[in-house]
Every structure is written in structure tokens, then in C-alpha cells.
């Protein structure tokens, strides 16, 4: 039903603004001056941001129970009659419909807000790049897809956005298409995502077949109506398949490999797509379908484990990278791992919470690094940085704020979300908690390793670069500051009870998450109560402590005695190389899948030419030999004639037949005689005058 409130009734417009400007850019953008491009693109995003905020405001204005708005614009895929697994006959038609509820609201906030800021930032960052309009066209296209994704009210439409963002990331990663590495990275991203998507689609089919619906609002009721047991096999399968999709999009093990390479793209892209929004789509999707997941503990366990392992795995790799953006990339993977761990332990709202806060400070980190790179005219290697604190103050300060936030020092955003996750993890399983805990330490360490190597210590910058280091234009710094503020206060909406707050965020999301007594979350909630305050405080202290420890270590190693890391690396080179080369995962994948696939294709290719194309060339090898002999005479024909064996057989057989035609009259007469003989013999035989009978005749 159409809502009465203006903005809620027009949320479907939100994606359209960026789409419109994207279309404009890609069609006639080339002829527009950069200023016009700025106005149109940033303006369009600004518009959708206003609409989004309006809608959110109007949503919040509603009583908590009615905070769901879902209506469809038109029938998109009315594919007609189908059977569910149960054999129920039903009509399948997917509407183009929008859904607005607290979860969407949060995502909208992040996407439009951060998106807008990054657009603004880009106007500064990209101002000197070629293909300015193209960049913004893609960026707006991305906004459209992402907004479609979050606003979709059914899984298929979500998939549209899902693929759309994939495409945009492909285009944006490959933005510098002259660099082979860039286009390679883009392709890798797309294909790896496709693998996930296959899983996603299968999950979708399975869900449709099982529940008879893919409308988010109907999933819960359908499950309730279906009277499925907890841990029902099909539901688990659905959950896992969907999760496969998520791992692709959100760069989890084993499909995370594309994200680090994706850093080939321009930095704002990394910030927007590969930190703040797109990569979190997987988390969003799982939170969306939490109804299914919470019915499938096994699946949840898998999610939790994968998330957790990914987070620590990525963190370890982040420890030793020297490319500033790569460090951030691995940290992103690691943080995403956190979010999945949260979902896995049933704390969906905590996951989403971390998603939001992470969006703020990770975006900030990327933009900051972008600003650094910008000022160092394209230098990305941290070993060639240092001592920039004074030279680019704004960037440096905001960057440090973000680092503190991600390290999880209270009262910055990171602290609250990470703490919430660790808290739930602790209740779910001590091991997961421990791993997360360690990861937190590593995070703090590599973040400050980065900060120290970049902003403090002695400058290692090349000389000619040294000359024109400059603070970035305000178009870039202002967003930095805004984001800095957000990463400070962003977490406060989730101030936990234990600290005298009232976890507004969780409450806000509650109707989406707990709307159908998912056992897991309830259990978690119960445990939460049980564990009581004391333990919770302890956990907080511990996490703050390890964060501080990490920071201190980084300070010790990279400011006080900078030679230590080298020593350590030297002392156990294997580990170092292993980490530095990211556990050789890419190489392994290449060896295992990519190359094998190529071989297979190669064999098939030759198979096609060789075998099928002329069935059993070898089988009839002697025929070919005859041909070659005969073809001494008829070469010209064979050449312009048949290569195809089926025909070649006939062709060759034709010669013996023709050799009968000797041109000798008596020979011909002989054949006629033979014919008569055969006829007569046939008749004599049939009428019983066989040879032996004749002998007795």
C-alpha cells in the first residue's frame, strides 16, 4: 500500500536521480565542462540524500511497529505459473518494488551520506584526471545500483543492484584501462563475484521453491507458516548458498582475493565501493534474510567461523604490506570478517552497527590515504613517506582520528560496534572471541604502523616529490573533517546499557531482526542478560587494552627503533614472505583453477577441431592414406574439396567405384554377365536349387 508521507511515498525516486545523471554523463558527458559535471552528479546525489534523510525522518516519526513501508511500482518479471517444491501451483511475478524499514534506513543513511561526501571529495581528487565525466557517470551508476540494492523489497531486485554494483566496480577498478593491471583487477573482481552470484541465484531458486516467495516481508511469515524445524536442511542450504553469494561480494574467504587488487581503482572508488558500501552488501543481505539464517544454526556457525577466520587471516596479511592502500584493503577484509562474525553469532544488529561505523572511518581512512597519495603526487609506498604530519595537517589529523576509531578506543565509533560484536561472540564461543580479540590487537597495530610510517618519523619522500607536497583542496579536506566527526560520534547511537546508554541502534533495528523469534538471536539475548555486567566490563577493558597495546607496539617499532621489523622479518623469513605474499593464495588459485580451466578449454578446443569435426580421423587413417596416394592425381580437388572426414570417406570410396569403369568393352560385358549370373543364382537359390543339390541332380 502506498504510504501517505511524501518522502516515503517517493523513495523510489532516490535511485533515479543518480541514474538520470549517470545516463546524462555517459551519453553527452564528453561535451560538458567539469563544472557542469560536478553540478549534475554531486547535485543528483545530494538530491537523493535529501530524499533519503526525509524518508528516514518520516520513518522514525512512525511508531516502531509500523516502520515498514513496502510497495511495488510495476510488474517486472511476470514469468507465469510455477510449482513450488511442495507442488503448490502459484503465479511467479517479481514486482519492481521498494522496501523501507529501519535496516534500509541505516543503509540509506550510509550510502547516500558517505556517497555524497565521497562525490564531493572526488571533485577535488579527480579534477586533473582524464575521463572526468566518465568517472562520475560510473560513480552515479554505482549509486543507482547500490540504492536499488538497499531499497529492493525482494531478493531478485536486490540481485539487480547486486550485479549492478559489481559491474560498476568492474568499470571503476578498470578506470585506468590503459594499465593492464587495472583491467585485470576489474575482470578478476567481476568474475570472482560471478562465482558468488551463481550461489546467490541457486539460493534464490531454492528459497523460491521452498518458501514460494522472495519478498523480504513475506519470508518470515512463510517460514512461520511452513512450520520448519530449526536447522531444517533446505533452509540451511538456502542460507549457505546465499552466504556463498555474500562471500563473493563482501570479500570473505575463499573469495576475498579480488578486493586487494581492486585498489587499482581511483582512491575515492576504493573508499566508496570497496570500503563503505558495496562490500558491505553481503552483510546487508544476510541481515535482510536473517529470518532464514536464524532458522539454520549450522549455516550461522559457518558464517561466524568464516567471518572470524577471514578477519584474522586478513589482519595478519595487513601487518606487513607496504602499499598504503593495500593495508587498508586488508583491514577492510578483516573488518568485514568482523561483521560476518557478528551475523554468524546471531547479533545481526551488531553487524549492521559495525557496518555503519566502519563505513564512516574506513571511508575516512581511504579518503585520507587518497589525500596523502594526492599530495605525494601518486606515491603509494609507505616506505617512501613519513613525517607528513606538519606538511598536510588536516589530512593527518583526520586520519589519526579514523585510526583511533578503527583501533577501538572509546569513545570513538569503532569501540562501540567492535565491542558489541566481541561481546556477542564471547557468549557464542570463547574461541571466536579470542580470535576476534587478537585481530583487534593486530588492527590497532597495523593501523598505527601505517600512521607512523606515513605521518611521523623521518621523511623518506623522494626529493623531487618533496618539493611540491601540498595539502589537498578544501573539496577534499571538508569531507574528511565531516567524516572525522562522524567517526567520533557515529558510535554513540549504539551506546550500550552497561555504560548507561540504551543501545538505541539495536532497538531501532529490532523489529527487522527479531520479528520472528529467530532462536539464535533470542539465545544470544538471553545469554547477554545472563552474563551480566561484570563480564561485559571486563571484555571492554580487555579490548581497549589490546588496542592500546597494538598502538604502543607500533609506536615502539616504527618510531623508537625502526630497525626491529627488519630484524624480525629477517629472523623468520618464511613467515614474513608468507605474509608478504598473502599466503600465495592468488598463485594457488591460478594454479588450481584458472590454469586448469584454460587447459580444459585448450583440450576441448583441439578435441573440437580434431575429433568431432571429422569423426575418427585416426580410426579411418588408412582411408586418409589412400586419399593421399590418390590425391597425387586429384590433389587440386582434394585441396578445394573436402577436409571433413565424413565426406572424405565418401570421396575416397568414390575412386574404387570409378576404377570399375575401365573403359574396356569386354570388361563391361563381363559385368553385365556377372549381373545376370547373380540374378539367376539368386533365383535358383531361392527356388531351392542350391549348388549341392545340383551336384546330386
Amino acid at each position: 500500500m502506498m504510504p501517505t508521507e511524501y518522502f516515503l511515498a517517493h523513495i523510489w525516486l532516490i535511485p533515479l536521480f543518480p541514474l538520470a545523471s549517470a545516463a546524462l554523463m555517459l551519453l553527452i558527458g564528453k561535451r560538458l565542462p567539469n563544472s557542469a559535471v560536478n553540478v549534475v552528479c554531486v547535485g543528483s546525489v545530494f538530491l537523493s540524500m535529501c530524499f533519503a534523510f526525509g524518508a528516514i525522518w518520516q520513518l522514525i516519526a512512525r511508531p516502531a511497529a509500523e516502520r515498514v513501508v513496502s510497495f511495488s511500482l510495476f510488474d517486472w518479471v511476470p514469468a507465469g505459473v510455477m510449482h513450488t517444491n511442495a507442488g503448490r501451483v502459484m503465479d511467479f511475478h517479481v514486482p519492481w518494488g521498494v522496501l523501507m524499514d529501519p535496516l534500509t534506513a541505516v543503509m540509506l543513511l550510509v550510502v547516500t551520506g558517505v556517497g555524497f561526501l565521497i562525490h564531493v571529495y572526488s571533485t577535488g581528487y579527480m579534477s586533473h584526471e582524464g575521463g572526468y565525466y566518465r568517472f562520475f557517470g560510473y560513480l552515479n551508476l554505482f549509486m543507482f545500483s547500490m540504492l536499488t540494492l538497499v531499497l529492493a523489497n525482494n531478493l531478485l531486485l536486490l540481485f539487480v543492484g547486486w550485479e549492478g554494483v559489481g559491474l560498476c566496480s568492474y568499470l571503476l577498478i578498470g578506470f585506468y584501462f590503459l594499465r593492464k593491471s587495472a583491467s585485470d583487477a576489474g575482470k578478476k573482481a567481476f568474475i570472482v563475484n560471478r562465482i558468488g552470484d551463481a550461489g546467490f541465484l541457486l539460493g534464490l531458486f531454492l528459497m523460491l521453491g521452498t518458501l514460494g516467495t522472495i519478498q523480504f516481508t513475506e519470508i518470515g511469515p512463510a517460514i512461520a507458516a511452513g512450520h520448519f524445524a530449526i536447522g531444517n536442511g533446505t533452509l540451511t542450504a538456502i542460507a549457505l548458498l546465499l552466504f556463498v553469494g555474500a562471500t563473493g561480494k563482501s570479500a570473505q574467504l575463499p573469495l576475498y582475493v579480488w578486493l586487494p587488487d581492486a585498489m587499482e581503482g581511483p582512491t575515492p572508488v576504493s573508499a566508496l565501493i570497496h570500503a563503505a558500501t558495496m562490500v558491505t552488501a553481503g552483510v546487508y543481505m544476510i541481515a535482510r534474510t536473517n529470518a532464514v539464517f536464524s532458522m539454520a544454526p549450522k549455516a550461522l556457525a559457518v558464517v561466524a567461523v568464516v567471518g572470524c577466520v577471514t578477519s584474522i587471516f586478513a589482519a595478519t596479511m595487513g601487518l606487513v604490506q607496504n602499499d598504503i592502500k593495500r593495508v587498508l584493503a586488508y583491514s577492510t577484509v578483516s573488518q568485514l570478517g568482523y561483521m560476518f562474525m557478528a551475523c554468524g553469532v546471531g547479533a545481526f544488529s551488531a553487524g549492521v552497527f559495525h557496518l555503519m561505523t566502519h563505513a564512516f572511518f574506513k571511508a575516512l581512512l581511504f579518503l585520507g590515504s587518497g589525500s596523502v597519495i594526492h599530495s605525494l603526487s601518486g606515491e603509494q609506498d609507505m616506505r617512501k613517506m613519513g613525517g607528513l604530519w606538519t606538511k598536510i595537517p588536516t589530512t593527518a589529523r583526520t586520519f589519526v582520528v579514523a585510526s583511533v576509531a578503527i583501533a577501538g578506543i572509546p569513545p570513538l565509533a569503532g569501540f562501540f560496534s567492535k565491542d558489541a560484536i566481541l561481546g556477542h561472540a564471547f557468549e557464542y564461543s570463547r574461541i571466536l572471541w579470542l580470535l576476534g580479540f587478537v585481530t583487534a590487537g593486530m588492527t590497532a597495530f597495523y593501523m598505527f604502523r601505517l600512521v607512523n610510517m606515513t605521518f611521523f618519523g623521518t621523511s623518506r619522500v623522494d626529493h623531487e616529490v618533496e618539493q611540491h607536497i601540498h595539502e589537498s583542496p578544501s573539496a577534499m579536506t571538508v569531507p574528511l573533517m565531516i567524516l572525522a566527526v562522524l567517526s567520533v560520534i557515529g558510535g554513540w547511537v549504539g551506546w550500550p546499557e552497561s555504560l548507561g546508554g540504551s543501545d538505541r541502534f539495536a532497538q531501532f533495528l529490532a523489529p527487522v531482526m527479531a520479528q520472528h523469534g529467530g532462536e539464535a538471536s533470542e539465545a544470544a539475548g538471553a545469554a547477554h542478560e545472563a552474563s551480566g555486567g561484570s563480564m561485559e566490563y571486563l571484555l571492554m577493558v580487555l579490548s581497549v587494552a589490546i588496542a592500546a597495546g597494538g598502538i604502543w607496539l607500533a609506536y615502539k617499532w616504527y618510531i623508537k627503533q625502526p630497525d626491529v621489523p627488519g630484524k624480525i622479518a629477517a629472523s623468520n623469513p618464511f613467515l614474513y614472505r608468507l605474509l608478504y605474499n598473502k599466503y600465495y593464495v592468488d598463485q594457488i588459485y591460478d594454479a588450481m583453477f584458472v590454469n586448469r580451466m584454460k587447459d580444459l578449454a585448450l583440450t576441448l578446443g583441439s578435441f573440437d577441431v580434431g575429433v568431432i569435426n571429422g569423426i575418427g580421423v585416426d580410426g579411418a587413417g588408412w582411408l586418409t592414406r589412400i586419399t593421399s596416394r590418390v590425391s597425387m592425381v586429384w590433389d587440386s580437388w582434394i585441396v578445394d574439396g573436402l577436409v571433413n572426414l565424413g565426406a572424405r570417406v565418401v570421396w575416397v570410396l568414390s575412386y574404387p567405384v570409378r576404377m570399375l569403369q575401365t573403359g574396356r568393352v569386354s570388361r563391361y560385358a563381363l559385368f553385365m554377365l556377372l549381373g545376370v549370373l547373380i540374378f539367376l543364382g539368386y533365383f535358383l537359390h531361392t527356388s531351392g536349387y542350391t549348388l549341392e543339390k545340383l551336384l546330386h541332380y
Binding site: 555517459l26 507465469g80 510455477m82 549492478g164 585485470d184 568474475i191 560471478r194 568431432i612
Partner: protein, 543 residues
């Protein structure tokens, strides 16, 4: 005009023929005259075919085959000149006229020698293909089916590239093997059904009463013709040669329409010929689906090793058509409608791809991928269109390809998720080879000096490509009309091959208006109106 209203199909069918005949009287050296006339009549063919769209009635009461025409042709053997189209053929007819016009336009400057013959043959080809989609009389159908071979042979043989002679005759012979077997099938069907009419619905209805063994034999006799045309996996080797050697327009028509004749044949003839006995039917269907899946993966894998762009696209056709056959033999509404839509999509996107490759070929006279690279610098718009075509071909949502593949997979899922899973691997591979191709042709620096100053698309090339692009988007965003058009024919088919699928009340809504149509006076007078096998299969009779 009056004639047009009553004989719209005839007009659509023979407009190109008129053009061809007209061309006969144009002196062979006035080439531009040939071009003008050829384009004129191809375009005219498109125009006269458009009214079909809005004159086609969707309400359940309408006869199954509309715009029905029937006239005695060879009374002594009971062959009629009877035309008529249902939703499925409607789409294919429009696709044919559209692609015909486009590809003729695309060959304006590509064809420099023997223009007269070229346009004559192309228009004849047009007639043949339209006839195949319209004919409701087996004799007529077979005639068009064969007629179409000859012009195609020449298109490949005269205007093709270096190995054209080989490719042309290979194409002809391959297809002919299938056709003669089909001829036997037609004759057997005709004889077994009493030997007094060739009317398709009547014969198919009769076929549903044969004993299982006969039905099986008939099915296989027809199978080869269609499988070779599609081409299904083991019979596909003619395709790469033909596609590669044919001139651009030829490839477009080959991929866009000719292959669809095979799938159309499967839908229109093979499905009703499926044995009624569930066991036998299940066996056949399983074989079909497995082969289709093999085709999907096989085609996709072979694509990766191609050095020639056209060959690559050709093999991708094998893969895509695999999806179509998979959907057809899922015997579910989603599978069928998805398959038809996918056929249209393949026509559009692969057609576009061939056109684009043709554009390159015209400029560089090579199709080797290694010859190119970094083209998006000299010709950005070309790159953009190419990107859209690629995306639609790899099934990106909001582009046509997705709708088709999704629906097909959805329909296949009902049979067994195994097929769906394997087929979706095909989707992944599809992305792989298409993007790989795109990257190697478009991205990177311009390595080959010959490519530095390539001209971007010109107006005529835009004119050929834009309609396709628009259609790609339209189908991707608002496919509803297609589904509406397909709804009823698909329902009739499924009810026949998969009785009771629609459940009692839906079947009632269908049978309610279908049965009378098949039996009442016009139905009897015009066999074409009959519903093949509606409520005639044994197991429905039992009910």
C-alpha cells in the same frame, strides 16, 4: 489495404520477394540502385510486419493461431498454403524482419562485389526464414526450411572470407542431413495420420495418439534436423566455420535467426511429438537436458581458446542456445517462455556483437583478437556499445540476457537443481570469456599502430546498432509484454507435454475457451485453428 488486412502474413512474407524480383531487372553495374532497393524492401518488410504486434490479440478467447490464412495448394497430396502465428512465432517473425532490415543496412559498404546477387539472395533468405516461422502446413514448412539453405550457401560462399567454399558446403550438407531425416519424419507422420493433410495442428494432434515406439521414432527423426540447426552439442561443428566465414550480415542472420529455426522447430514440432508414455518421455527429456548442459559448458569452455573474435562469438552461441534447449526440455512454463525470450535476446545481443565485429573487420580486415587492443581510446563510442552488447550477452540484470537466463534456470530448477547448478557455471564462464575478449580488444594501450586512427562508429552503424541496444534495455527492464504474449502458447504446450501442470482450475480456464475453438466451425473448417493434442493425451482422457 483490404488485402493487407485479410492477408497480412502473406504480405509480410512476400514483401522481400517482390524486392528480389524487382532487383532482377536492375542492371548489374548500378550498384547503388541495388543497395537502395535492397534496403528499401528490407525496411518495408519490417514496417509491414509491425502491425502484427498490436493486431495480435491476447485475450484467451482468440484462436491459437492468428492472422490465419489457408488456401489449397496441392490438393492431390493435401498440402495447403496455410499461414498463422501464435505468440512464439510472432516474436520470432518480428525478430526476423528487424534483424533482416538491420543486417541489410549494415552491409551497405561492406559488400562491394556482385551487389545485385547479394541483395536478391538476402531478400530470398528473408522469405525463407519468415516462411518457416509462419507455415502451418508441414509441406510448406519443409519447403521454406530447405529454400532458405540456398541463399545462405551463396552468402557464405561468395561474400565470405578465405575458407568460404568449405564453410558454405559444410553448412549446406550438415543441414541437409538433418532435413532429409526430417522429411522422412514428415512423410511418416503424414502417412500414419491418414495421409490426407499436412496441416500441422491436425497431424500433431494425431501424433499424440500413436503408439509409443512410433512417437519415439518420429521424435528422433525430427530431432536431427533441429539439433543440427540449433546446433546442439555434438552437431555444432558447422557453426564456427559458417559464422566465421560468412560476411557480417550473414553471421548476424545466422546467429540471430537461423539458429532459432532449430529451437522453434523443437518447440513447435518436437514437444508435441514427445511420446505420451511418461517413462519414454522422461528418458528423452533427460537426454535432451543433459546434452544441452554439456553444450552450455562445452561452448563456453571452447570460447576461451579462440583467437578469432567471430569464432569466439560463434561458440558462445553454442553455449547460449544450450540454455534455450535446456529451457525447452524442462517442459515448464518458465523454461519455455524463458527459452523463447532467450532466443530473442540471443538474436539481439549476438547480432549486435557480430555487427560490431563487422565494423572492426571493415576497418581492419582481420578478426584476430591479437591484432587489436586498446580500441577504447580511438573509438570510445564503439567500446561503449560493445560493452552493452557484451553485458547483455553475459546476462547482466536490467539487460535482456538476464531475464532469459534467469527464467530458464528458474524453470529448470523445477526439474532438478542439478541442471540449474551446472548451467549456472555456464553463466560464470560466460562472464569470463566475454570480459576477457572485451579486455583484450578494448583495454590497454594501443599496441598496434594500425589501430591508432580507427574511425569511430558512423551514422549508418549507429542506425544498425541503436535499435538493438534499445531493445536490449527494454526487454531487460520491462519484459512483461513478452511474457504476456508467450503466456498462452506456452500454457497450451505445457498442458500438452506436462499434463495437469496447471492444476485443475487453471486448466479449466484454458480448456474452457480452448476446446470450443479447436472444435467449432471455423476450427473444423480451418484445421490451423485446432489445438494440437489439447486434452487428447491418454492420461488426460482418463480424467
Amino acid at each position: 489495404m483490404e488485402f493487407y488486412n485479410t492477408h497480412i502474413l502473406t504480405v509480410v512474407l512476400f514483401t522481400p520477394l517482390v524486392g528480389a524480383l524487382l532487383l532482377l531487372f536492375v542492371p548489374r553495374d548500378s550498384e547503388n540502385a541495388h543497395r537502395v532497393i535492397g534496403n528499401l524492401f528490407a525496411f518495408l518488410g519490417l514496417i509491414v510486419s509491425l502491425p502484427l504486434i498490436w493486431r495480435f490479440s491476447l485475450d484467451a478467447g482468440a484462436p491459437r493461431f492468428q492472422f490465419y490464412e489457408n488456401a489449397d495448394w496441392i490438393p492431390s497430396i493435401g498440402a495447403h498454403y496455410s499461414l498463422g502465428i501464435d505468440g512464439i512465432s510472432l516474436l520470432l517473425v518480428i525478430l526476423t524482419t528487424l534483424l533482416g532490415a538491420i543486417s541489410i543496412l549494415s552491409s551497405w559498404s561492406a559488400i562491394k562485389i556482385r551487389t545485385k546477387e547479394y541483395y536478391i539472395l538476402f531478400l530470398l533468405l528473408q522469405v525463407g526464414m519468415l516462411g518457416v516461422f509462419m507455415a502451418l502446413d508441414f509441406f510448406l514448412f519443409y519447403m521454406f526450411w530447405e529454400v532458405m539453405l540456398v541463399p545462405m550457401y551463396f552468402l557464405i560462399g561468395v561474400w565470405g572470407s578465405e575458407h568460404r567454399l568449405y564453410a558454405a558446403i559444410k553448412f549446406f550438407l550438415y543441414t541437409l542431413v538433418g532435413s532429409v531425416l526430417m522429411l522422412l519424419g514428415v512423410l511418416a507422420l503424414y502417412f500414419k495420420a491418414g495421409g490426407n493433410t499436412f496441416d500441422v495442428p491436425t497431424l500433431l494432434a494425431a501424433a499424440s495418439k500413436f503408439d509409443t515406439s512410433t512417437q519415439v521414432i518420429l521424435f528422433w527423426l525430427f530431432f536431427f534436423a533441429f539439433a543440427i540447426k540449433v546446433p546442439m552439442f555434438p552437431f555444432h561443428t558447422w557453426l564456427p566455420d559458417a559464422h566465421t566465414e560468412a560476411p557480417t550480415a550473414g553471421s548476424v542472420i545466422l546467429a540471430g535467426v537461423l539458429l532459432k529455426m532449430g529451437t522453434y522447430g523443437f518447440i513447435r514440432f518436437s514437444l508435441p511429438l514427445l511420446p505420451q508414455d511418461p517413462a519414454a518421455r522422461h528418458k528423452i527429456v533427460t537426454i535432451m537436458m543433459v546434452v544441452s548442459v554439456i553444450g552450455i559448458l562445452y561452448g563456453a569452455l571452447v570460447c576461451m581458446m579462440q583467437k578469432d573474435m567471430k569464432k569466439l562469438i560463434a561458440y558462445s552461441s553454442v553455449s547460449h542456445l544450450g540454455f534455450c534447449t535446456l529451457g525447452i526440455f524442462a517442459l515448464t512454463p518458465h523454461g519455455l517462455s524463458g527459452s523463447v525470450i532467450q532466443q530473442i535476446n540471443h538474436g539481439l545481443s549476438t547480432g549486435a556483437l557480430f555487427l560490431l565485429i563487422g565494423v572492426l573487420y571493415e576497418r581492419r580486415h582481420t578478426r584476430l583478437i591479437s591484432e587489436f587492443g586498446g580500441l577504447s581510446t580511438p573509438m570510445p563510442n564503439f567500446a561503449a556499445v560493445y560493452m552493452i552488447a557484451t553485458l547483455s550477452s553475459l546476462g547482466l540484470p536490467l539487460l535482456n540476457g538476464f531475464i532469459g537466463e534467469f527464467t530458464i534456470l528458474r524453470g529448470t530448477y523445477e526439474v532438478s537443481i542439478k541442471y540449474t547448478a551446472w548451467a549456472s557455471i555456464g553463466i560464470v564462464l560466460g562472464a569470463a570469456y566475454l570480459l576477457w575478449l572485451y579486455q583484450r580488444v578494448m583495454f590497454g594501450p594501443v599496441t598496434n599502430p594500425a589501430n591508432e586512427h580507427l574511425k569511430d562508429l558512423n551514422a549508418r552503424e549507429y542506425a544498425t546498432l541503436i535499435p538493438l541496444v534499445i531493445l536490449c534495455f527494454w526487454i531487460g527492464i520491462y519484459p512483461k509484454p513478452l511474457f504476456r504474449v508467450l503466456e498462452r502458447p506456452v500454457q497450451l504446450l505445457v498442458e500438452q507435454v506436462n499434463p495437469g501442470y496447471y492444476g485443475a482450475e487453471r486448466a479449466a480456464t484454458l480448456g474452457g475457451n480452448a476446446a470450443p475453438v479447436s472444435t467449432d466451425a471455423p476450427g473444423a473448417a480451418m484445421p490451423g485453428m485446432g489445438m494440437p493434442g489439447m486434452n487428447m493425451s491418454p492420461d488426460t482422457e482418463k480424467k
